[in-house]
């Protein structure tokens, strides 16, 4: 099944000067784009696509893949330092990363994040290399009913996110699903709740909503503070905290393995994405943690889980793209376009026809993981000082950046207003202790839930949702996710 000769040929092709140069360049571009809130790696990849035509096909795709990896890793920087996720996949990193930064542990949090990201990317790269030839066909078994169950499984994380009040979490998650249904219905094309606003026909754009809920709402709160962090200025001057975080991330062995493997398999499912992967990993980390009470207040376990998962998801997403030609996200879609433009048609034959190119691409993900640990850590040192920049300068400047990010998604001024509306709503939710991440998660999962539910029930009725071994396993996981916290709480109470 594994052609070792082709593997070596792939590694040799990878260690060419041109390939390595564009690999590092791609990573740096991705890293910068990911670190700027709202700037989309897929857009940058699309802009660069025509320029890659002069490159060797494998080099072009490797460059694209490292932009993707760099963006996923760097997206945690604004998530940790400013509560603004660089990419949607980093939304869960805000949950523990930002409280740590506010407590003056920005360097430590960044070190943890890059350590976990490196581990996740390495595990993702290894699993992709080993399983890609066989896993592609497994991904094909995910029909509408299975995808519906995956979305429901993602929603079970709401119970974790709504630790203060389960009812509030439920209410806001249900409202999030409803909000996500705004726009033309996928079956009949009826524009639901658009009230004649044409910009809403395609549904709510994710980036402006994300920037509003996490970004603008937090910037409004920062107006009342002098700096993001009140303490820890002395400890954030050097490398020590970053390296301590990097070192301590390795101490979360079980968490890292669990989150990375979970993230990878979520990535393999086309359309599931890093957001679901990281939130699921967060939920699992909280459920199995001995210190569940400190989640949401800067628990390192949560940050390690989210960051290892979203980087493993990025590598997992390469598998269906290469083996089936199925892009799971906008970024993999651009990568697919790059492959097709260069005459490399992904699909079940990819690992026989273009086997050397396939291995070059997969091995390049190992190098990209190494870049997270080196270049990422190097850039983390200056980045950690952001939390001590006076808010009088930081807040208006970042607000403009957030405006640009919201606009750049579709180049529509309407999205700026949409971001402001969601920013205000996010601020109100925070004041009255509603879990904003639960609302965001529901907005992401809503369309996935609806379209797959309708397709699945149209094919075989409601029974279709529970047919097949994958569905049964997913249902078991859903039940386990819901029952496990209750059972654990009961067990602890009995033990006391």
């Amino acid at each position: 099944m594994y052609d070792t000769e082709a593997m070596f040929a792939g590694i040799t092709a990878l260690f060419q000067f041109q390939t390595l140069l564009f690999l590092v360049l791609g990573f740096l571009i991705g890293f910068i784009v990911g670190a700027i809130p709202g700037f989309n790696d897929a857009n940058v990849m699309a802009i660069l696509l025509p320029f890659t035509l002069v490159l060797d096909p494998t080099v072009a795709v490797i460059m694209m893949a490292t932009i993707y990896t760099g963006a996923q890793a760097a997206g945690s920087i604004p998530a940790i330092l400013m509560n603004i996720p660089g990419t949607p996949g980093n939304a869960a990193s805000t949950l523990e990363g930002y409280p740590m930064a506010r407590a003056g542990k920005a360097g430590y949090a960044l070190g943890l994040s890059f350590g976990a990201s490196t581990f996740g990317a390495l595990i993702g790269a290894f699993l992709a290399l080993v399983l890609a030839p066989v896993l592609g066909m497994f991904a094909l078994k995910f029909g509408p009913s299975e995808m519906f169950m995956v979305a429901v499984l993602g929603l079970t994380v709401v119970s974790t996110l709504a630790s203060e009040s389960y009812e509030k979490g439920m209410m806001i998650a249900l409202f999030g699903i409803l909000v996500s249904l705004i726009g033309a219905d996928s079956m009949s094309g009826f524009p639901r709740a658009t009230y004649g606003i044409p910009e809403l026909y395609d549904g709510l754009p994710m980036i402006p909503v994300l920037l509003g809920l996490f970004g603008l709402s937090e910037l409004l709160f920062l107006l009342g503070r002098a700096t993001i962090a009140d303490q820890g200025r002395r400890s954030s001057d050097g490398w020590s905290e970053i390296f301590r975080g990097l070192k301590n991330s390795a101490g979360h062995q079980i968490n890292l393995w669990r989150s990375s493997i979970l993230g990878f398999f979520v990535g393999v499912v086309p359309g599931a994405g890093a957001t679901i992967g990281s939130f699921l990993a967060y939920g699992q980390a909280r459920q199995w943690s001995k210190d569940r009470e400190s989640f949401g207040k800067g628990n390192p376990e949560g940050l390690v889980a989210t960051d290892s998962a979203n980087n493993a998801t990025a590598n997992g997403a390469l598998v269906p793209m290469l083996t089936l030609g199925l892009p799971g996200s906008a970024s993999t879609l651009v990568m697919l376009a790059a492959l097709v433009l260069h005459g490399l048609r992904p699909g079940p034959e990819f690992f026989t026809t273009f086997i050397v190119d396939a291995y070059s691409i997969l091995f390049s993900t190992f190098l990209a993981a190494g870049l997270i640990a080196t270049l990422g850590v190097l850039l983390a040192r200056p980045a950690q000082h952001i939390v001590f920049v006076p808010n009088a300068f930081l807040v208006p400047t970042v607000t403009v950046l957030v405006f640009i990010g919201a606009y750049a998604w579709r180049f529509m001024a309407f999205d700026i207003m949409l971001m402001i509306v969601f920013g205000l709503f996010g601020a109100i939710l925070k004041v009255y202790r509603y879990p904003v991440p639960a609302f965001m998660l529901a907005i992401i999962l809503g369309p996935l839930l609806e379209s797959n539910f309708l397709r699945a029930t149209r094919i075989g009725g409601a029974n279709n949702l529970f047919d097949g071994p994958i569905n049964k396993v997913l249902v078991a996981m859903i039940v386990l996710s819901l029952v496990a916290p209750l059972a654990t709480a009961l067990f602890r109470r009995c033990k006391k």
Partner: protein, 157 residues
């Protein structure tokens, strides 16, 4: 104080109920397949909202932890009238940014927004002038590098 926070607690349920009502009203003429998912979601949302409303009304009888969870986040909520006014003014500036974006263009709107926002948030006059010019130029350069299709103002940039 108790009454104020209790009334404030009704804001989110009120927004949610209004949202549900607007959604439900708009899909009344749609085909049944279009309403198949939204309608049950609306029913469930309204039910959970009513539960929360009931809890808020009978907050006194609830346990201490639940009552604490219902109260506003003291760290997030503005405490003084001045803080509230600054946040409202900042939000108005944000809305102003949206309205001037199309007519004044990208770079001029950025400059104007920053010239007003910096002093509002507490930056001095020199800091404001330098910060606004440098940040606006940086954003202009960023949009140029990224090849963004941004609106051009009356001055041609």
């Amino acid at each position: 104080m108790f009454l104020r926070s209790k009334w404030g607690e009704l804001i989110v349920p009120a927004i949610v109920l209004l949202g549900c009502l607007l959604f439900w009203f708009h899909i009344q003429e749609a085909r049944s397949v279009t309403r198949r998912i939204p309608e049950p979601v609306i029913v469930l949302t309204v039910l959970t909202t009513l539960i929360i409303l009931m809890r808020t009304v009978f907050q006194k009888s609830a346990g201490k932890d639940e009552a604490d969870a219902a109260l506003p986040d003291q760290e997030a909520a503005p405490t003084t009238k001045r803080e509230i006014l600054i946040r409202v003014a900042f939000l108005i500036l944000c809305v102003g940014y949206y309205f001037s974006f199309g007519s004044l263009g990208f770079s001029l709107t950025n400059l104007l927004f920053l010239l007003l926002a910096y002093p509002l948030v507490g930056l001095g006059p020199i800091g404001t002038a330098v910060g606004a010019v440098v940040s606006s130029l940086t954003f202009h350069f960023l949009a140029w590098v990224m090849n963004f299709n941004v609106p051009v103002g009356p001055l041609g940039f």
